[in-house]
Symmetry: C2
Subunit: 243 residues, 2 copies
């Protein structure tokens, strides 16, 4: 086994994974924010990504159920509150529905999630399963993609507003709230990982967990690209309105 790193070296290694494997590097992201997507492609993205968004509080509840320390639970539960909101018309999942509706999708289509790509479903299920069955350290480390999300959100919002006349600031309200939450959450999570992954084996497990999570995001973009950019939607998947 390799030797243990210092906490600073571990943080650098985690950030290096983001620099090489985060989905801001995926070709689909570039197509999207450069204005080269069709309306149907953006709708497909919003439709599929809804299933991921809606599953995040389930993933975090799974993690919450595995935390024995009430102090850590008090911190982690905020993620669920942020996504589910304080009332029905509030929270990240609600704002994603508004985003999908703003792009012209029917609310029932989105919330029903029956027409998403099977690969979206498998990737999201794999993420929940990972957080339910791996160590708590790996579950928390897998959340560290949020370290890299403020950048992609910045590019996405400015690019989409500049390049698609059917996208409004109001539609993208989801992204207004997220960067502050993501930074607060990932600041906490990386400190926690640095404090709890001291042995070399734990550090390697944390690095592999973050790679795993990057793969989960990348796979979702691969599936969207294959189905809606390269034009091979699988049987049963959404094919654009009226199709």
């Amino acid at each position: 086994m390799t030797q243990a790193m210092s906490p600073g070296e571990l943080e650098a290694a985690l950030r290096q994974i983001g620099a090489t494997r985060y989905h801001n590097l995926h070709p689909l992201h570039r197509l999207m924010h450069e204005g080269r997507c069709t309306r149907i492609q953006l709708q497909a993205w919003a439709l599929n990504r809804y299933y991921y968004q809606a599953s995040i509080p389930i993933k975090d509840s799974t993690i919450l159920s595995r935390i024995e320390d009430p102090a850590l639970r008090r911190v982690w539960r905020q993620r669920i509150i942020d996504h589910d909101g304080e009332h029905e018309a509030d929270g990240g999942v609600y704002r994603w529905i508004k985003l999908a509706e703003g792009l012209g999708l029917d609310r029932e289509l989105v919330v029903g999630a029956r027409a998403i790509l099977p690969i979206t479903r498998y990737a999201v299920e794999a993420y929940i399963h990972f957080c339910a069955t791996r160590t708590l350290l790996e579950a928390i480390a897998s959340s560290l993609t949020e370290l890299f999300s403020p950048n992609i959100i910045g590019e996405r919002v400015s690019g989409m507003l500049a390049n698609y006349d059917f996208v409004t600031k109001d539609t993208l309200a989801y992204f207004t709230a997220r960067p502050v939450q993501a930074q607060r959450d990932s600041d906490f999570a990386i400190q926690w990982v640095k404090a709890h992954a001291l042995a070399a084996e734990q550090q390697q497990a944390a690095l592999r967990a973050l790679e795993f999570k990057c793969d989960v995001l990348w796979a979702q973009s691969d599936a969207l690209m294959h189905a809606y950019v390269e034009g091979h939607p699988p049987p049963g998947a959404w094919r654009g309105e009226g199709a």
Copy 2:
């Protein structure tokens, strides 16, 4: 809810799913058996498909663990015996390793399964998870893709032998044993499903389970196509020997 079908109508509806959603209809299958794949593309198929093959006895053990009737367990266990063999150099999983080696892959690369596509892993995990958590009827109905496998195997073997000079009959020995087993297994399974899915709700669940399984196979072909035909292998995935 719709009205219940007769057992014969249910069988026809199940076979109709195969006729419209089984992966013999996937473009990758046509490329493969028409001789239009590169050696690396066939290797990528064998490498990824190994993970699916190796997971089938795990899936069947999961089903076995949920069966309360010893008579049904005695039938179902044969699937595990067929895949794992009577000794080390025997069984379907072993023959798949020989197939991969015959195509020029390193045994360690194949068996380690570290360089497969993340989507392959997620799809296979989703299948195991489905069989672990849905009703026994749905788990058994999801195995019914085997009704359609003798056809695809026939096309695949003759097409591959005719079109690739590096593929030998010996390499494809896996496919010699499978059709007889698949027919015996699927004959049993469809009779069981017809006898146990009498209510309309059960019949719909069985149909959805078979659709789900077709999606699991289709998604694996989509992922191979995107990565190795359209040329977008994700970070960390195998890129051909020496790459």
